[in-house]
Symmetry: C2
Subunit: 299 residues, 2 copies
């Protein structure tokens, strides 16, 4: 197979784009997909201070490198979750990566915040993945607002977005469907959130890391066993294999034809947020989840 | 495994209902699902004249028998499509079945109407399944209206409904999504249309036929090769296997949470129908598809 752009030997085939690329042209393709996402949703410009959440996995590191290379003013944010067995390695990966790139990094330690996820896992009865997600989103938002960043980015890729869309659609969860987008504008206590990799698949971000020598953490979270998404992932892969481009098309037609309908319905009966009476960040419940969790762990 | 109702030996397992049944209790279960559908959507009563479309396959025959047994005033309608190789057998099945049941049957012959599907297949360039579907729906509606039936039923089962819902959802086709329901009320030139089997899977209608000795046509349409739905069917079966009840839940939450949103959007920019200038049945295009098709075949 020859590269669709330069006719050298292709090293990666992308059936959903009817294309194959050599490493250089793949990088060009990757950059264009990111640019297209940023432009289409008017995410941010080179004048913005962009905070990029870095887990240490391939997606967030690929995104950070790409935005850095494109000349955006990016700072990394790593939440050290203090999970025994996986967090130290992830943190080391992120620190080494940012150092190599010469890019600034903020690290927030959950152990220091009194929210070690391993401790949460042992003391709190609720599903740990949901609690951990809440903790991360809280600190992403807090750091972005406290330190004056004008955009907050995460490395969610097309597979993440489409998997979530399918899950929300199978339940026809109007509230979640109204909220799903690669670009959520700032609103009452929330920094504006962006997902510039939404057009790129998991395979494509992995290829980007491989071609650009990005070392990333492949350690699986010790608490992720039994998460239900592998079935939906498998379904979507079967669909994509049978009809390349299905994933992106499912997601893009949702954004174009349906999202606004769910948004309008949600606005009619949406609940309202107010500052947490303890920390001041938005919540629908007086004292926010995170402050209550800290309280619980102190007891 | 024991029958969930009477504790005799079960002959059929229904994981999505956390149940297993002996043949008698399965019939009871089947009846209740049909009753529940009719009641929930106020489809029709025993005072209505109900026309049931009979292809000769398991679903339509199961539906017809069940409505007949429940004491509804039902008449069968078979469209003899004049497809070489499959139509004569299907017609014979339907005729024999109605005779055995002592129930009235109307047969409309497409050969006599100048619309033999085999001829259409050879003379018309468009995909045959789509044309054949249009022809059937036209005659279902025409016979129902011309002969004063107050309800028109088809044997679409849960798998049909959910397969269609998934296809429409993957494309986020707002117009089709707005129109998908087990109950479509009468409107400008259309008889009210109902799908009382929407709560029952393909497997369940097959079991009903088996337990009640219903002989049905299993001849595959010679033109159905290459139809794209098997992939989606496979996806839904994987999902159902992994999480029994997924199909019904996907369909029911759609009806409950989302359908009205698509309907409202469609009403805002829906196109309007008027009587066909040739036959008088509703169309959006001056002369309707069927009249144009007849014209084309006469040439």
């Amino acid at each position: 197979m020859k590269c669709s752009r330069c006719k050298k030997t292709a090293q990666v085939a992308l059936p959903s784009h009817h294309a194959g690329f050599c490493p250089e042209c793949f990088n060009e393709f990757f950059s264009r997909q990111v640019e297209r996402a940023i432009r289409h949703f008017r995410m941010f410009t080179r004048n913005d201070r962009v905070l990029v959440a870095l887990s240490g996995g391939k997606d967030s590191l690929a995104l950070f490198r790409e935005l850095h290379v494109q000349g955006y003013n990016v700072t990394g944010l790593h939440i050290d979750l203090a999970i025994n067995g996986s967090s130290p390695h992830a943190r080391q990966m992120v620190e080494r990566f940012c150092e190599g790139l010469g890019a600034p990094l903020r690290v927030v330690s959950m152990a220091e915040e009194g929210l070690s996820i391993t401790e949460v896992k042992h003391k709190v009865k609720r599903p740990i993945c949901s609690v951990c997600g809440k903790v991360k989103r809280y600190y992403f938002n807090k750091v972005a607002l406290d330190e004056g960043f004008t955009a907050l980015c995460t490395g969610h890729n097309l597979d993440d977005e489409v998997g979530r869309l399918l899950a929300n659609t199978l339940r026809w969860d109007v509230s979640y469907l109204s909220d799903q987008s690669p670009a959520l504008p700032a609103s009452g206590g929330f920094a504006p959130k962006y997902r510039p990799l939404y057009r790129l698949s998991e395979f494509e971000t992995a290829a980007y890391c491989f071609f650009n020598g990005i070392e990333h953490s492949t350690a699986v979270c010790p608490y992720s066993a039994g998460a239900s998404f592998p079935v939906r992932k498998e379904l979507l892969n079967t669909l994509e294999e049978h009809s390349p481009g299905s994933k992106l098309s499912f997601y893009e037609t949702f954004l174009k034809n349906a999202k606004a309908l769910f948004e309008a319905a949600e606005k009619r009966d949406g609940d309202s947020l107010a500052p947490c009476t303890s920390c001041g960040y938005p919540t629908s419940a007086g004292v926010c989840n995170i402050c209550r969790l800290k309280e619980q762990l102190r007891d």
